[in-house]
């Protein structure tokens, strides 16, 4: 049974149709990256799972429990970290964590140990007596994560956990998430920092204007994007006749003459790049440059999305 199961999720904010029929499943122990431009519906979907948005259609289940029907049971099993720092600045770190530990009904005798453990995990032990308002942004983010971990939830819903952090703090958060993954937590994480998700996630879902554009492992998504793979070549003495011959090569969708290169767009064929190279050689042209466009998360994101919002 998947930990998270969403089917045909629709969410409306008044006249705005924010989420339009999203479906996804996240099995136990997986780190699922949720990618999309601002306003795509990522946070809304996460809030539905966090039981904060009761008005939706479709089904959303966590460990088989319906989110709409039994939100209190869901809250025992999830830890949700929003994309802003929601911390009481009057309290110190110890009071803050003890407060939430008490609120989660952790027995008084165990609280000190539990708080100590999450502080150690988030590397905040030395800040235990500091006022929350004196912490840096990165530390506040780690404190928020420590709060989320207090009741040892099985599923973590992390909405932009690294947004607004400096590079060092981002790396620290990333390392922390890796540690949580190793502890077997199932994580749903949304982020704009795409290459970080590439390092962390076992699967990603790309969402735009409330719709899932693509989802699967990174390899699956790259494979899907082969359809639009571009190879940049620079040929010595290439004229219109050569370009016409290239257009006739099997697997070539179109050929575009640019200022200093030729951009060759290939059809869906895993071996198309290699075939193209062989074909160009057989045409007898001298190849000065042959560069398939690098496929990474940012490229995939840019190719799959158009910057639309719901």
């Amino acid at each position: 049974m998947p930990v998270v199961s969403i089917e045909h999720l629709h969410v409306h904010y008044g006249p705005i149709h924010a989420v339009r029929g999203i479906s996804l499943e996240i099995p136990q122990g997986e780190v699922y990256g949720f990618i999309g431009p601002n306003g795509a519906g990522k946070s809304t979907t996460i809030k539905v799972l966090a039981t904060l948005l009761p008005n939706f259609t479709g089904t959303a289940r966590i460990n088989g429990i319906d989110v709409a029907a039994n939100p209190r049971a869901i809250r025992e099993q999830i830890g949700y970290m929003p994309d802003f720092f929601g911390v009481y600045e009057d309290l110190n770190v110890r009071e803050y964590l003890h407060f939430f530990a008490a609120a989660y009904r952790i027995p008084r005798k165990q609280r000190k140990t539990v708080v100590g453990n999450v502080l150690e995990l988030t590397d905040l032990t030395h800040k235990i007596s500091d006022q929350v308002d004196s912490l840096s942004r990165g530390m506040k983010q780690r404190l928020a994560l420590a709060r989320v971990l207090l009741h040892d939830p099985q599923l973590l819903l992390l909405d932009e956990p690294a947004s607004g952090l400096d590079p060092r703090a981002r790396i620290e958060v990333r390392e922390l998430l890796k540690a949580l993954t190793e502890m077997g937590k199932t994580i749903l994480i949304s982020s704009h920092i795409l290459h970080e998700l590439a390092h962390l996630c076992t699967r990603v879902g790309i969402i735009e204007a409330g719709q899932m554009v693509a989802q699967g492992s990174l390899e699956d998504i790259y494979r899907q994007l082969q359809l639009m793979r571009i190879v940049h070549v620079r040929l010595v003495g290439a004229d219109e006749a050569v370009l016409e011959k290239i257009r006739e090569i099997e697997g070539v969708e179109n050929v575009e003459q640019q200022v200093d290169r030729i951009a060759i767009r290939l059809r869906d064929n895993p071996a198309a790049v290699e075939t193209l190279h062989e074909s160009l050689c057989s045409l007898g042209v001298r190849i000065h440059m042959f560069q398939p466009e690098a496929m990474d998360m940012e490229t995939a994101f840019m190719k799959l999305t158009e910057g639309k919002t719901a």
């Binding site: 966090a50 039981t51 000190k112 308002d133």
Partner: protein, 602 residues
């Protein structure tokens, strides 16, 4: 300067047009006036009083006075602090808008709005002249008085807004500024009544009277008198105009000094007071009281016994003793708390772990960090002890015959009023801080219902009422005999309708207070500032319409159908109770809905 000022001015007017609480206020004001017209008409039908026009106009005038006072403590006090809280004041300065430009641009729209609200009434209240009992000159004098008062309140509100870092602090400062002249007037009156006369004393009393808000009440009283022959413009108008201008000037002079530092978006930060407040655990207070109260009781009993005061019973104890005991309690409670914190390491923070479990955790947090914790409770104990001492002194001073019942009556009345206001403020702040700190989603994710979360906030607010609760309980116990007598006398009468009617009064009052507290919580989730004022106005309006209105309607109906008002009065009370109960239920679910909505939106 003018360009920036005008830009701010235009924006201010636009924003006010878009704010629904402003429209709600206008709607409530218009609704109140229509209702007063109905009351005047009903009075003439029932042949109560001889001047319905005067009654109609008096009600409108005093309602305006209350509205302006509440606006002064909420509407005007946020003019600059809202820019500080939104961290946009620095941007305005960087855009080249001068200090006076910002002040004019921010205060202007609010002042114009308030004055327009007054001006628009003017043609309609001429109706009072046709109803009889009032002259156009009196109407002119009243509206000029109120206009002067608006200018004074706007100036003082602006000054508080400049000086304070947050709207909440500005409101507190404004209250202090309003109450200080009143207290000073009281002290001068006491001194003068004690024989402290002389030209200097008289002059001081006059000067304080000019800036005191009581001068408005005094002026309105004299204007409303039949046969008023004074001028339309009184000295109060000039005094308030000068006072308003002086406050504006002072705000201008202070502007740079108090807006130099940038402000953070969260609620009020740190500071020594906060550190001290957070440095003590709740257990410090009962430990201190455990020493102070028995100590004072022993001293009280020992001296009374020694002097033989107790031989004729408790009533024969000289009231001076109550005075000194109250002052002693006021002084010893904070000292005791400090002493306990020094002697007992366990009473200080550091070894915390005593947060109450489960649903009680938010109550623990609110009690400690919103209502002031041990220090806040000790402060309020001191305050209510001082109020008791002041009551004893004033009862004695006014020449009224001393009795425990009189003291108990005052304590009970003040306790209920202060307790209700405190509860509304505590619960409202409890919710407001969650929104300001963006912590509501974290709380809503706790594995419990929204209702449980709301009730834990209520509990936190109620626990902070321990000082006022003790004060009220002592008052109630002293007053108990006479209350019981007044309650039991209707039951002895042959008319059962009166007994039922009397029984319904405390129920109706209790429901009204609950509605007020609920509305404070609801508005705290809805508006950024002035939620207690808005709740006060709304619940007052509902109370007036719900009780007076229903009473009037039912009396007319009852007199027509049954020939007497007795049954109709009960029916009117019953209708009011049903209306209030419905409103309480609706607001309760409204709060839950709002909490869910805010948690989802943040």
């Amino acid at each position: 300067m003018m360009r920036g000022s005008l830009a701010l001015f235009t924006r201010g007017l636009r924003v006010d047009c878009r704010r629904w609480p402003m429209h709600l206020l206008r709607f409530l004001l218009v609704g109140a006036f229509l209702f007063f017209l109905f009351v005047a008409w009903a009075n003439s039908r029932l042949e109560i009083g001889t001047a319905p026009g005067l009654m109609f106009f008096s009600l409108i005038s005093y309602t305006n006075f209350v509205f302006i006072t509440l606006a002064g403590t909420s509407f005007f006090t946020s003019s600059i602090t809202e820019e500080k809280e939104e961290q946009t004041l620095g941007l305005l300065k960087m855009a080249g808008v001068s200090a006076v430009g910002i002040l004019l641009g921010k205060l202007g729209p609010r002042l114009i709005n308030a004055l327009l609200l007054l001006a628009i009434q003017y043609p309609f209240v001429q109706l009072a002249v046709t109803l009889g009992g009032i002259l156009p000159r009196q109407i002119q004098a009243t509206y000029i008085t109120l206009a002067g008062y608006i200018v004074l309140m706007s100036g003082m509100g602006l000054f508080c807004s400049v000086v304070a870092a947050r709207t909440r602090s500005a409101v507190a400062l404004m209250h202090t500024i309003i109450w200080m002249p009143l207290l000073l007037q009281l002290l001068l009156w006491i001194t003068r009544s004690s024989g402290g006369t002389g030209p200097l004393m008289q002059a001081a009393q006059d000067r304080v009277g000019w800036v005191s808000i009581w001068s408005v009440v005094g002026r309105l009283q004299s204007v409303m008198m039949i046969g008023f022959s004074g001028g339309a413009v009184g000295i109060q108008f000039y005094a308030h105009l000068v006072g308003g201008a002086a406050a504006f000037l002072l705000a201008w002079l202070c502007f740079e000094r108090f807006t130099r530092q940038p402000h953070t978006p969260g609620p009020e930060r740190g500071g020594r007071l906060l550190r001290v407040r957070g440095g003590l655990r709740l257990r410090a207070l009962p430990m201190a009281l455990f020493v102070v109260i028995p100590g004072l009781a022993i001293v009280f009993l020992a001296f009374s016994w020694f002097r033989g005061d107790l031989q004729n019973g408790f009533d024969s104890v000289p009231h001076e003793w109550v005075l000194w005991e109250s002052i002693g309690l006021a002084a010893l409670v904070p000292l005791g708390v400090l002493l306990v914190s020094v002697l007992s390491p366990g009473s200080r923070r550091g070894a915390i772990g005593g947060c109450w479990p489960g649903v009680l955790a938010p109550a623990w947090k609110d009690l400690n960090f919103v209502s002031g914790g041990a220090i806040g409770l000790a402060f309020r104990m001191t305050l209510y002890s001082l109020i008791t001492a002041m009551l004893v002194f004033l009862i004695d001073f006014s020449g009224a015959s001393w009795s425990w019942t009189t003291l108990g009556g005052w304590m009970l009345g003040i306790g209920i009023l202060a307790g209700t206001m405190e509860l509304a403020s505590n619960i409202g702040r409890g919710f407001r801080t969650e929104i300001q700190w963006q912590t509501l989603p974290g709380l809503m994710l706790l594995p419990r219902s929204v209702a449980a979360l709301g009730w834990s906030k209520v509990l936190g607010g109620i626990l902070a009422l321990i000082p006022v609760g003790i004060f009220t309980a002592i008052g109630a116990s002293l007053f108990f005999t006479s209350v019981w007598e007044s309650l039991s006398s209707p039951f002895d009468s042959s008319n059962p309708e009166t007994a039922v009617f009397v029984m319904m009064i405390p129920l109706q009052m209790g429901l009204h207070l609950i509605l007020f507290v609920e509305l404070s919580a609801f508005f705290a989730l809805t508006v950024r500032w002035g939620y207690v004022a808005l709740a006060f106005i709304s619940s007052f309006f509902l109370y007036v319409v719900g009780s007076w209105g229903m009473a009037m309607v039912m009396m007319i109906v009852g007199m027509r159908t049954r020939g007497g008002p007795g049954g109709a009065l009960i029916l009117s009370q019953l209708t009011t109770i049903v209306v209030l109960s419905t409103m309480i239920v609706v607001t309760y679910f409204g709060i839950g809905r709002k909490l869910r909505h805010l948690a989802g939106q943040s």
